[in-house]
């Protein structure tokens, strides 16, 4: 135990070495290499603009693209021109940062957010799914996959109010429409009913065969919900909408049929990858949220 106190028999060497090592360790913590501004363009870069590098590779590519010839064949003047443009662009980007455009300009913020999303998703997209994964995804979401149905539908409308039917009430129009439907179902022609009850064709340009998604756009969600369940030759009950009372006459209908896996594979693949990209983006956001300090004012929630 005497080793801890100084003994004339022992030298000071070991404790002194301890002192030196201790000081070196503490010095290594207290001091760091002094930062020096970069005064020489590092290899791999063509220029430094306010310490921000422009890649040589980007310069070569940009020159070849802009001058439409291989980089080796471009002249010094052409290269100077491209370099000047790239430096100008870098200066403008840096100025944009100084002006806090990422903070203040919606377009810049949108592009930045999309770029981060794309970067977060890219590694995930690089991993290709196996057939088994795709098939499992297909089976889990089978209702989504079907062939596109088609329909040819006449959309008749009895307008309520407005210039043409200023005195028409909804109840009166609905009663007329009920009668018209009865007559159509009894074999009256569409043209006769239109003329007799004052119906007009709501979408005269779309009374040809349409894919279901197009019909949904043209009819609107409310009418489409009725139309998609109808079969060829059927007449719908009157449907009250914002512009009047509608009657749908389905002239032809091919309903969608569920698609088997080989048929739907491409769509399954795309949606599977999109789902994974979305997950990667969500995880990225979760990570950012963990790192961030977010304070909400009293009474606010998200």
């Amino acid at each position: 135990m005497r080793a801890w106190s100084f003994s004339p028999r022992r030298g000071l060497a070991l404790p002194l070495a301890g002192i030196a090592v201790g000081l070196i360790a503490a010095g290594a913590a207290v001091f760091r290499k002094a930062p020096h501004p970069i005064t020489r363009v590092p290899e791999g870069y063509v220029a430094l603009v306010n310490q921000q590098g422009i890649l040589m590779s980007d310069f070569i590519s940009q020159t070849a693209t802009e001058m439409e010839e291989p980089f080796e064949q471009t002249t010094a003047a052409q290269r100077r021109k491209v370099l000047r443009e790239m430096i100008d662009k870098e200066l403008l980007v840096q100025r944009a940062q100084l002006l806090d455009l990422p903070e203040t300009t919606i377009e810049v913020r949108t592009v930045m957010a999309e770029a981060v999303d794309a970067q977060a998703a890219a590694p995930m997209l690089a991993q290709q799914p196996t057939e088994a994964q795709l098939r499992a995804y297909y089976e889990a979401h089978q209702s989504r996959y079907s062939t596109e149905g088609t329909m040819t539908v006449r959309n008749l409308v009895l307008h309520v109010g407005g210039y043409q039917n200023a005195d028409q009430s909804v109840a009166q129009a609905e009663a007329d429409a009920v009668e018209a439907v009865y007559q159509l179902r009894s074999g009256a022609t569409v043209d006769y009913v239109m003329e007799h009850f004052g119906f007009v064709d709501a979408d005269p340009q779309y009374d040809t065969q349409q894919l279901d998604f197009a019909a949904k756009i043209h009819l609107g969600s409310k009418l489409y919900a009725t139309a998609q369940g109808m079969s060829g030759g059927q007449v719908s009950d009157p449907i009250v909408d914002t512009d009047g009372v509608h009657v749908l006459v389905m002239q032809q209908r091919t309903p969608p049929v569920p698609a088997d896996f080989p048929t739907a594979r491409s769509q399954v693949y795309t949606e599977y990858q999109q789902e994974r990209a979305r997950l990667a983006q969500q995880r990225n956001l979760q990570y950012l949220r963990r790192q961030a300090q977010i304070l909400l004012a009293a009474g606010q929630s998200e």
Partner: protein, 407 residues
């Protein structure tokens, strides 16, 4: 009785330490400006640490800090020429008269353009922060058509006049000497170290070793800082200075008790325990610092009775303190580094000022103590002071070290 007195002193100093702010031991704030004349336009770039900006605005939450600080600077920075005031001009777009800049982390940056009708007989004025932070120092670089000079704005020296007939000369060495003096006198930890070191002297004339050690340390830091190889991490440097204050206490106790083994093991053990705690929380450089300090303290205290009889033992601790303290100015200059040629007079002035005030302070206190001991014949005075100081320095030193490590 002596034990009770020690406990009382320790409690009093712990209370003092708890009441003190970690920053109280550090020097005042620092800001940076770059005045560049281009035609009849004086372009001013001003850098301000985020902490100072928040103290200025009075909020810990950075809401509109940038805008408020910008407005404040507009009121406190000015350029005048022989023709009168040079107004700050609107910079177009939606920037206004103060353009906030993106600068390095931990800083706010602003740019103001002053337009002079005739840029002769210029007077640059910087009164920013001196009303709120009296110890504030503003390092300025002035570029008048390629002629560079380094200036210093402090409370009471808030203007720089550009001579009409000769180039503007950089602030003289005397200004930096004053900065060194203010740095020592304004730092409680520095004063504690110096006064504590006096108590370790076996003979009055050993004060020359103390002064020589400090001078050696400052000289070494000057040479290394001029080389520009390394720069300190200021938080850890502050913590290590705190450790050195506490280390004086351990040295005093070793001397008083005559039990170097216990003190060496105790000090090293305490520091290693702290290192282990830090390692569990987040392993980083703090662990290395604490482990190094533990090794240093353990080995030094174990041989202190013999080691302090050697010249190296007398010089080592003050030299170490001087070395660390000498890096304060180079670190402060880092956000706006001057050229090496301009750096020499700045560091020389600062270090000479620090050593001078150290020496004068040590000699004055030593003289006073000798006078007291000789004429008042109070044989127990030194023992009493030593006991209180050992407790106080230990408490304060550990407080400074931990509070700075914790940031």
């Amino acid at each position: 009785m002596r034990l009770a007195l020690k406990c009382l002193a320790l409690l009093a100093l712990c209370a003092l330490a708890a009441a003190a702010r970690p920053a109280a031991a550090q020097s005042g704030g620092v800001s940076y400006s770059n005045w560049s004349l281009s035609g009849n336009l004086m372009i001013l770039r001003f850098l301000l640490p985020v902490a100072d900006a928040r103290r200025l605005v009075g909020s810990d939450i950075p809401i509109e800090t940038q805008a408020k600080v910008g407005d404040y600077l507009l009121d406190h920075l000015a350029v005048r020429s022989a023709d009168g005031d040079c107004p700050a001009i609107d910079q177009g777009f939606d920037i206004g008269r103060v353009d906030p800049l993106s600068v390095q982390p931990g800083m706010y940056g602003f740019e103001i353009f002053f337009r002079c009708t005739d840029p002769r007989g210029l007077v640059l004025q910087d009164t920013a922060l001196f009303d709120r932070l009296p110890g504030e120092v503003s390092f300025a670089r002035v570029d008048l058509g390629g002629q560079l000079s380094q200036q210093l704005f402090t409370a009471g020296h808030e203007q720089v006049r550009v001579p009409a007939t000769r180039p503007l000369r950089s602030a003289g060495i005397g200004r930096y000497l004053g900065l060194g003096v203010a740095h020592i006198l304004g730092g409680l930890d520095r004063l504690c170290f110096l006064l504590g070191s006096l108590l370790l002297l076996r003979r009055p004339r050993q004060v020359r070793h103390l002064i020589a050690g400090l001078s050696l340390g400052y000289t070494a830091s000057l040479l290394i800082a001029l080389g520009g190889w390394i720069t300190p991490r200021m938080t850890l440097l502050g913590a290590f200075i705190g450790f050195m204050v506490a280390f004086l206490s351990a040295q005093l106790l070793t001397r008083q008790t005559g039990k170097p083994r216990i003190l060496a093991l105790g000090s090293a053990g305490l520091l290693l325990w702290l290192a282990a705690v830090v390692l569990l929380a987040h392993g980083n450089l703090t662990v290395v610092l604490l482990a190094g300090a533990a090794l240093f303290a353990g080995c030094y205290l174990a041989i202190s009775d013999r080691f302090e009889q050697h010249l190296l033992g007398c010089l080592l601790v003050p030299a170490l303190f001087g070395f660390l303290d000498g890096f304060v100015l180079p670190a402060a200059l880092l956000p706006q580094p001057p050229s090496r040629r301009a750096l020499l007079p700045m560091l020389l002035g600062f270090d000479v000022g620090a050593v001078l005030v150290d020496a004068l302070l040590l000699l004055a206190v030593m003289g006073g103590a000798l006078w007291l001991l000789r004429w008042r014949r109070l044989p127990t005075l030194k023992a009493l002071v030593t006991d209180i100081a050992a407790a106080g320095l230990g408490g304060l030193g550990i407080f400074w070290m931990l509070s700075r490590l914790h940031g």
